[in-house]
């Protein structure tokens, strides 16, 4: 009796399953398999599965890009789908605030909830600079790839370059919008203004020793017109910047930062050989 019932129900289930079958493009799973699976949202879609569905359904891959996997991943996605992917230059997150504990004097103590978003909604910040890092680490908490940590010496978050995928989660999480996705650059070499302070020079300088004071020296020295000065703040456009580094020594506050460059040739480093001889 039971076995008859079992066979009957199995038949019912079979027909129901056939009747209500949902067709799913097998390519979605194929694309999903090559995606990183971090569900970071860097592509602008809610998770990797959604990105895979979108890739399969979209007519072209022009608007779609997974910043985590980069060009290599997009090429394999394009191969699966038989389309072409657009090449994009890889980016990574750059913190544009140099106001470490020693450069930026604290004017008050915040003892509220340990969240940058909450602190920013309450007041101007624990230093005289209203634009600077609040040092409460919202960016570290949102990073799915563990590419950010707070430096206990400077109080600022540090981007771990090899781990950063440029997904942009920290850009959205920072209430002061201090992070920017910038080109990784040739051999990882980058040049940027490490400040977001839009106050007038004297005010900015008083608030933070590392602030851009909007003096415009870097703009004058730049031969490629890559630096723009707006609201008392210089900005280096990484598309036009040729990384000549002429602006770096010009900056009176050292707000222009160079990353991953080889040390400069000993043209202006005259004291060094003397030290050397004394030591040896």
């Amino acid at each position: 009796m039971l076995s008859v019932l079992g066979v009957f129900l199995a038949a019912v289930l079979y027909f129901v399953a056939q009747k209500f079958k949902v067709y799913e493009d097998p390519r979605i799973d194929e694309v999903g398999a090559v995606l990183p699976g971090g569900n970071c949202g860097g592509c602008g879609l809610p998770g990797c599965r959604a990105f895979a569905e979108c890739c399969v359904q979209a007519e072209s891959l022009d608007e779609l890009f997974c910043p985590v996997g980069g060009n290599a991943l997009m090429a394999s996605v394009a191969q699966i789908l038989g389309r072409t992917a657009v090449e994009k230059t890889p980016t990574l997150a750059v913190l544009r605030c140099g106001g470490s504990c020693e450069k930026r004097e604290s004017t008050n103590q915040y003892d509220g909830m340990a969240s940058c978003m909450v602190a920013a909604s309450l007041y101007g910040g624990s230093t005289a600079c209203r634009y600077g890092c609040l040092m409460l680490g919202d960016c570290v908490r949102v990073c799915t790839f563990g590419a950010l940590h707070m430096d206990s010496q400077t109080g600022l978050p540090v981007v771990d370059e090899p781990l950063c995928t440029g997904c942009g989660a920290c850009v959205k999480a920072c209430p002061k919008v201090l992070f920017e996705l910038r080109n990784v650059g040739p051999k990882g070499r980058r040049l940027y203004v490490n400040c977001q302070n839009k106050d007038k020079g004297a005010v900015a300088r008083k608030a933070c020793q590392a602030a851009c004071i909007g003096c415009g020296k870097c703009v004058k020295v730049c031969t490629f017109n890559a630096i723009a000065l707006e609201n008392n703040l210089a900005y280096i456009d990484f598309h036009t910047c040729k990384l000549c580094r002429k602006c770096v020594p010009e900056c009176p506050t050292g707000a222009i930062v160079e990353v991953n460059f080889p040390p400069k040739k000993a043209v202006d480093a005259t004291p060094q050989p003397i030290n050397h001889s004394v030591n040896s």
């Binding site: 004017t107 008050n108 003892d111 509220g112 969240s115 978003m117 909450v118 007041y123 101007g124």
Partner: protein
């Protein structure tokens, strides 16, 4: 029989240490920092420039837009500069900085203490004078008074409720005003009742101020329309919605305004400012500020010129008490701590409170134990613990469904929380976030 509101509320120790200190005039400051953004709404437009000589009561900032208020010079002297200057919270607003010279008032301002009780003006004329005088709600919210007194044509006010509850611990400025300027407050109430065209006015006072209740009851005997209502001591009785419920037994709907149920609420300090603006031609240039704190030796209630830096107030009571770690503008529950002591007194500042480390220290937080104390305490009937959890995971839709926008940031939830969770911080942030989303949502 004292009345009160029905839902939530807490009973903090009231600490009214400065209640017996009569109001004194603070000496003129050397420099006044008069901000153009001292009210809710659009900041005023500065109409003076560097080097101009101004007199007390002269308009230096013109109201821009419907919800905005005029700003007047509170001192006489030369304008040093007009520049962005950080307010007590560290946010910069356009500020007229005046080097004080002498004390010369504009012509036509009646500075005498004589009571002018006869009301000769019509309603619209009163509202116009209030608008010219730059009067804003002095209970702390600083909503322009003339806007509140001109309800939209489809809504009709039925009664005026005056807020003398002063439910925040420590504050005594309204209490002193009711005792010393009671007659003026009654005239101010009549003026606002005429402006609104209502026959009934109530003054709600908490029963921890029996002298004020007695004094005002005596004064309103000859005025049939005004009634003094004794209220039980309970925080946040001075909240607009709570006060209305306590006094006239009506509830303001969610997202609604008191005018929706025919009530307008004003603070007793505002009533005095209205009296001065209308009967004495004196714009809002002074403010009574309580200087208090458990470890402060000289408790004071000062009449301060708006724009005087906090440092001058503190010097007048003999400097900061040694154990002070936090200077709060307003009461301990809803006041905001000052970021720097060169910040000016604003129209909405009711007190300068000095708190010690022991009083302000946050204890280490632990997990929510679902004791529901916060739900019992919330005067708006919200579930703070739930909103906190939604807020942490940024569930904006759920926050909206659970009426986070009704939160009035009174802090009752955090006051009762045995796990010391930062409920208030999260609620304030979520509320502002949700309100901003709702405001920007396209209307169908």
């Amino acid at each position: 029989m004292s009345k009160t509101f029905s839902v939530g509320g807490i009973h903090p120790h009231d600490n009214k240490i400065s209640a017996n200190q009569a109001i004194e005039n603070l000496p003129l400051p050397a420099v006044a920092y008069i901000s153009m953004a001292q009210h809710i709404g659009a900041p005023a437009e500065p109409v003076v420039g560097k080097g101009d000589y101004v007199q007390v009561g002269q308009i230096i900032g013109k109201a821009s837009g419907f919800i905005s208020a005029n700003i007047h010079a509170s001192v006489s002297g030369v304008v040093k500069s007009v520049e962005p200057y950080p307010n007590p919270l560290g946010n910069k607003s356009m500020t007229v900085i005046i080097d004080v010279q002498g004390d010369e008032w504009m012509e036509g301002i009646d500075q005498s203490a004589e009571l002018v009780g006869d009301i000769n003006l019509s309603g619209p004329e009163i509202v116009k004078k209030i608008a010219e005088g730059g009067v804003v709600g002095l209970g702390g919210a600083t909503f322009p008074t003339h806007v509140k007194l001109s309800p939209p044509p489809d809504k009709k006010a039925e009664c005026l409720v005056l807020n003398g509850a002063e439910c925040e611990p420590f504050l005594t400025s309204d209490h002193r005003l009711m005792l010393e300027k009671g007659a003026e407050i009654v005239v101010g109430t009549q003026l606002m009742m005429r402006a609104l065209g209502v026959q009934k006015g109530y003054i709600g006072i908490e029963e921890n101020k029996p002298d004020a209740i007695r004094h005002l009851s005596k004064l309103v005997k000859q005025h049939s329309g005004i009634e003094i209502v004794s209220l039980k001591k309970r925080y946040p009785q001075g909240g607009e919605k709570q006060l209305i419920e306590a006094v006239v037994k009506r509830q303001v709907p969610s997202m609604g305004l008191p005018i929706d149920i025919g009530v307008v609420v004003q603070n007793v300090g505002t009533a005095l400012a209205v009296y001065e603006a209308v009967q004495k031609n004196k714009p809002l240039v002074e403010k009574v500020v309580t200087l208090t704190g458990r470890s402060l030796l000289n408790q004071r209630n000062f009449r301060v010129r708006i724009g005087a830096p906090l440092s001058e107030l503190i010097a007048a009571v003999g400097g900061l008490p040694e154990d002070t770690v936090k200077v709060v503008l307003g009461g301990p529950m809803m006041g905001e701590s000052a970021l720097h002591l060169e910040a000016p007194v604003l129209k909405g500042s009711s007190a300068v409170l000095f708190l010690s480390e022991q009083e302000t220290k946050r204890l280490p937080q632990s997990a929510c134990i679902r004791c529901s104390k916060c739900i019992e305490a919330c005067p708006m009937g919200l579930e703070p613990y739930l909103l906190y959890k939604y807020g942490l995971s940024n569930c904006v839709e759920e926050l909206e469904q659970n009426h986070v926008y009704d939160c009035m940031i009174c802090g009752c939830c955090m006051y009762t929380c045995p796990a010391y969770l930062p409920l208030l911080d999260m609620m304030r942030f979520s509320r502002n976030q949700v309100l901003a989303i709702m405001k920007n949502r396209p209307k169908n």
